[in-house]
Point group: C2
Chain length 183, copies 2
């Protein structure tokens, strides 16, 4: 007997349903911890390594690849522009997360998506970062995401799917960050 | 006459002071817009291109490099693990931004930093993303950053420097995100 995997939008729907069933049977499987290690090079230039994580009840010490990502600043902000800057990296995380969330939740709901692309922009007033005006925030005043989605789904449906994005939640709602300094 | 650039922590302090003076003379120079273009591959696999930005009163259409970054999901979350996932990319953005902000603001304050590294972790309960419990948030419940900084500065000073980080602000405070769907 030949069986065909039930793939929609690049997502294995059978495995997705199985994952949901497992989590419903054992809620502790839903606990994940993601990790990163950042090393300063100089100025605004850094390199981050991504490797291990915890999830579905166990440690995952190795990954397919030892992922490294750099960050730097643009030259007009005194960097050497050797990599995207942290604000641009936030846009990368948000665009990827919204897109992935839509692909997964569309698959779970039987909605086919043929293509997706998005343009993101975020505006900043440097009076905040430079410490020139404490009333001006240091981060983005706002982010706009313009999606082009090739699908029969309505705009309302697509918008509902996008709301499952974890990074959309992290950015639009306050997320506590604890900073510790070790000797 | 030989002049030596005033470099501290990899930051050109003379240029930093000059930048602050320019912004104080013409506040419009402080307006920046960063941009990203995201293309879906399949499932949770995406690629982001970073190129142009607006800042110091003009468009900057080209960069040193045409930066591209990928995102994917880990295999237990039905991805192919070809790149870090969006939640890990948020940790990369935060670690890099805190570190860069500390290097820049330390330089501006005459504080020397010899080395910095940090370990970041963020915990997620998948009941949120999977839509199993509307009371559980989809993003990180919290992020912890553990810094090791080689410097004579006190912990209190380092903490104050870190608070200038734009990504720290984006994550800890609500940042409005507008999503538009175009035909």
């Amino acid at each position: 007997m030949i069986t065909t995997a039930n793939i929609k939008n690049g997502v294995n729907v059978d495995q997705l349903v199985e994952t949901i069933n497992h989590v419903q049977q054992d809620p502790s499987l839903a606990k994940f911890e993601f990790r990163a290690k950042n090393n300063w090079i100089d100025g605004g230039h850094c390199v981050t390594s991504i490797q291990d994580f915890y999830g579905v009840g166990q440690e995952h010490p190795v990954r397919k690849d030892n992922f490294t990502m750099e960050a730097d600043h643009v030259e007009v902000l005194l960097g050497q522009d050797q990599a995207p800057n942290p604000a641009e990296i936030v846009l990368h995380a948000l665009g990827s997360c919204l897109t992935g969330a839509m692909a997964y939740h569309a698959a779970a709901n039987g909605i086919e998506i043929e293509g997706m692309e998005s343009r993101l922009n975020g505006d900043v007033d440097l009076h905040g970062f430079l410490g020139l005006d404490p009333e001006v925030r240091k981060g983005f005043n706002g982010i706009t995401v313009k999606f082009k989605v090739k699908s029969d789904a309505s705009e309302e449906q697509l918008r509902a799917l996008s709301q499952f994005s974890p990074v959309f939640d992290i950015i639009t709602n306050p997320t506590p960050v604890t900073i510790e300094f070790e000797k």
